[in-house]
Amino acid sequence: MTQTDTAVRLEDITKRFPGVVANDNVDLPVERGSVHALLGENGAGKTTLMNVLYGLYQPDSGRIVVDGEERDFASPRDAIDAGIGMIHQHFMLVDTMTVAENIALGNEPRKWGGLAVDREAARRDVVELSERYGFDVDPDKTIADVSVGVQQRVEILKALYRGADVLILDEPTAVLTPQEVEDLFDVLDELTDQGKTVIFITHKLGEAMHAADDVTVLRDGKNVGTVDADETTREELAELMVGREVVLDVESTPPDVGDTVLDVDALSVLDDREVPAVTDVSFVVREGEVFGVAGVDGNGQAELVEAVTGLRDPEAGSVEFDGRDVTDAPRRDRIDSGMAYIPEDRQERGLVMDFDLVENGILGSQHGAPFASGGTIDWDASRTHAEDIVEEYDVRPPDADTEAVALSGGNQQKFIVGREFERDPRLVVATHPTRGVDIGSQEFIHDRLLELRDEGRGVLLVSSKLDEVQGLSDRLAVMHDGDVMAVVDPDEIDEEELGLLMAGEYPEGYEPRSERDAEGVAQ
């Protein structure tokens, strides 16, 4: 292998943040014209490493070598000049500007001695570029009006427009449907065929194996191995990722189902932009069962859950909780009558970041017994409560006086889970309950969830982790584009069928059973 075959080489990169070593002496060689996957769990340091390569962070030590030359990136500008482009997980696009304006941003072609943007030239360049790589984008559309898949392509075009030879994609598939994912991989092939180099960050084993030539696994900020994608196995990668063999199956006994706790009927919900996000969805959750909702993020799960938990007014339909119509009831009514809720966004919703854990422990219970009586909050009881959660759910640091903001994401999540589980709920609505939580705590949370089920409480579980919903659920609804495609038995359906349903297609010879199921249950 000659020097020029390596497009990028990171050597001994170390990057520290207060309290954490995000990257610990990481080496990463990337071959020119290849797709290189950077695989690891959340928090393994993948994004940090790529931000270092893109000049957003400066490493504490180590070298960056591009095209055989050592580089020092003080800002993204330097990285862009060296031919590196990055497509972030959250798109760096300005919603109010057009596709062409976004692509040209910061590099606008000028006319009239620089006094004006040459909008025609910008438009022409964009059309030319998108034709060369076979992209289908309209340069005059406003970003807010195009789909997520197109937005991603705009991001890629933006990097190419700046002359990028090396493209970094951060979790590019997280927001895409399976079909869009396939299209993206075709685009990556096209790019490497034309001599570009691609690094993509992912935490999904399958994607890394499927789309990449080489896979580098990061764990706890360290490079634990670079392997050839064709020669490795899922088991090997999984073991590298988590450091021990994982049992993905959750032990669960058959459910002992009781009365209906939650009855959602013909529910339609609008999203923040007043666009229908959930259309005519019906299902029930019964005592003693876990009802799972699977789907690619952004297919209406968030809005559905918000309507169920009282955070969003539905457009049509009804929600019955414990035999009472609560469709228009305020959120507090649901909390008081025993609906626990682990929200998707723990830092915006689940915790008040500037409150300590004593104060956070009563969030939702501040209005009545046992923590408030006679118009006064009982802070002693609240403290005991918080300390109990901290102990039982292994929240670290084990100090109830810590402000929520000082906890790591995983510990924040454990505290929320503890608070909600200890509410003595009739129904637990859990969205991504183990997101960002270490493996040990994941198992603990799963066990507690099943315990609650076995005690006869209902569980509505929403997760984008397929193994989690599939493993825990007794019945599983698959959502696509605001619709429940089907309610299936998670033990019988295979991954491929599930994938098709999530993409909005029925597998061949598949008989849509959702209505029959729903009716069967309702009776």
């Binding site: 809720y341 689940g350 970041m353 000082a406 960002g436």
Partner: protein, 445 residues
């Protein structure tokens, strides 16, 4: 753990504790404002004319040229023989105003001869100013804690004062003969009127914010202008509420039984320890309300993180309206106290208590108990500005400049943290001091 480790740990915790940090920031901001204020006084002193300089900057200074040689003549001579010691300044510049004298008048003048005569009239003025600023300060603080910028405290105070002054002119005279009994009825009634009127006037922008998304900063400022105009309208016409016997725009004087008793102080000092004590009780009550009741919890949660509040079952819209109403009621009570303690009737041209309340609240980190301290400090400034006006040529509007500077500097905690970090390892990069909470966070995704 060794003692020094423990001490260091304790110190670290103290510094991290937001209350202590805010105290440090407020103090630093105050000192910096005083310093900049001194520069402004000097600068202003160059822009005006005077017969002789009140203050001179000389290099080298008087200490070197005169004082030192006088103290130790032998030493100076022996170190630097042959007339090398400077006997006069090489450079000197005179200023018409002496900042030290101004600050002396401003800060110490406000206290009067407090050690010998704690009831002196200048100190009485300071207490009276402090009392009213406690109300406007805590009014702003309550709203701030709910993440609402109630810039309309001034207008709410005017409306409260106007209502109290006007209604009592009809209610009070018939009861005047009842003596103490009348006071027991009329004082609470007057305060209640002020509170209700101020609360109602603040509920309007509150409701507009909650249900129509109208920015409360703008609406409350506009309502300040409206309140002043309406007050002028009603009090400048005899067919409405103007006192026909007076040239000034004011209502009829209220009988003494309707007013706060002066007790220890002289009646003409317009101050009442009862009103002051009432203000203290209100501050403690508001503190208890915020820290120990579900309503306070809801209010603080909404202020820090509206999404989390909603999640916790708080009705966001109702909380906005009720915190705004509470804030306005406190301002209105402040207006009532102004009428019942200081004026004895309602007059147009109400001083800027509302805007000073903003500074008081921000300086106190929006903590009701801290408001007490900050209000006293501002009471001193307000009262001292009168002393400055009498005792020097410096315009008393200087206090207005200091008010703005203090707000500006308290608003930039990062500046002091950066300075702090240069001299020690304390401080963490944090959020703006105001009210918007929860940015950042330990995400490990």
């Amino acid at each position: 753990m060794s003692f020094s480790e423990r001490a260091h740990d304790l110190l670290g915790r103290l510094v991290r504790a937001s209350a202590f940090e805010r105290f440090l920031i407020s103090t630093s901001a105050l000192l910096l404002s005083v310093f900049i204020g001194a520069l402004i006084i000097l600068g202003a002193g160059r822009m005006t004319d005077c017969a002789s300089a009140a203050y001179t900057i000389a290099v080298p200074g008087k200490f070197v040229t005169t004082t030192l040689p006088g103290l130790v003549p032998g030493v100076v001579k022996s170190v630097l023989p042959g007339g090398l010691w400077p006997s006069q300044a090489v450079f000197a510049m005179g200023f018409c105003y002496d900042p030290f004298a101004v600050y002396d008048l401003l800060f110490l003048g406000a206290l009067g001869d407090v050690l010998n005569n704690p009831l002196n009239s200048q100190f009485a003025t300071t207490i009276a100013e402090t009392t009213i600023l406690m109300f406007t300060g805590v009014a702003v603080a309550v709203a701030f804690r709910a993440d609402i910028f109630n810039i309309g405290v001034q207008g709410q105070l005017v409306v409260g004062a106007l209502t109290t002054g006007v209604v009592l002119t009809y209610v009070a005279p018939p009861l005047a003969g009842l003596g103490v009994l009348a006071t027991i009825v009329l004082l609470p009634l007057g305060l209640l009127l002020g509170g209700v009127a101020g609360g109602a006037y603040a509920a309007v922008p509150g409701a507009l914010k909650a249900y129509a998304d109208a920015n409360e900063v703008i609406t409350t400022i506009m309502l300040n202008f409206v309140a002043t105009s309406i007050a002028l309208f009603l009090v400048s016409r005899e067919k409405y509420f103007k006192d026909p016997e007076s040239f000034a725009n004011q209502t009829v004087n209220l009988p003494d039984v309707a007013l706060f008793p002066s007790w220890l102080f002289r009646a003409r000092d317009d101050v009442s320890l009862l009103a002051f004590a009432f203000a203290v009780v209100v501050l403690v009550g508001i503190w208890y309300l915020l820290q120990h009741t579900p309503f306070g919890y809801d209010l603080r949660t909404s202020g820090l993180q509206p999404d989390a509040a909603e999640y916790g079952g708080v009705d966001a819209d109702r909380t906005i309206v009720s915190s705004m109403t509470l804030s306005g009621a406190l301002a209105g009570i402040g207006g009532a106290v102004y009428v019942l303690m200081v004026l004895g009737n309602f007059q147009t041209g109400v001083p800027d208590y509302g805007f000073d309340g903003i500074t008081v609240s921000i300086l106190a980190g929006n903590n009701p108990l801290g408001v007490g301290l900050a209000a006293f400090l501002f009471g001193v400034l307000k009262s001292g500005s009168i002393v400055v006006q009498v005792g020097s040529d410096v315009p008393p509007t200087l206090v207005g400049v200091l008010r703005g500077l203090i707000i500006l500097f308290v608003a930039m905690p990062e500046f002091f943290r950066m300075i702090g970090q240069k001299f020690g390892s304390f401080g963490r990069p944090g959020e703006p001091v105001a009210t918007d909470g929860g940015s950042g966070g330990g995400s490990d995704e």
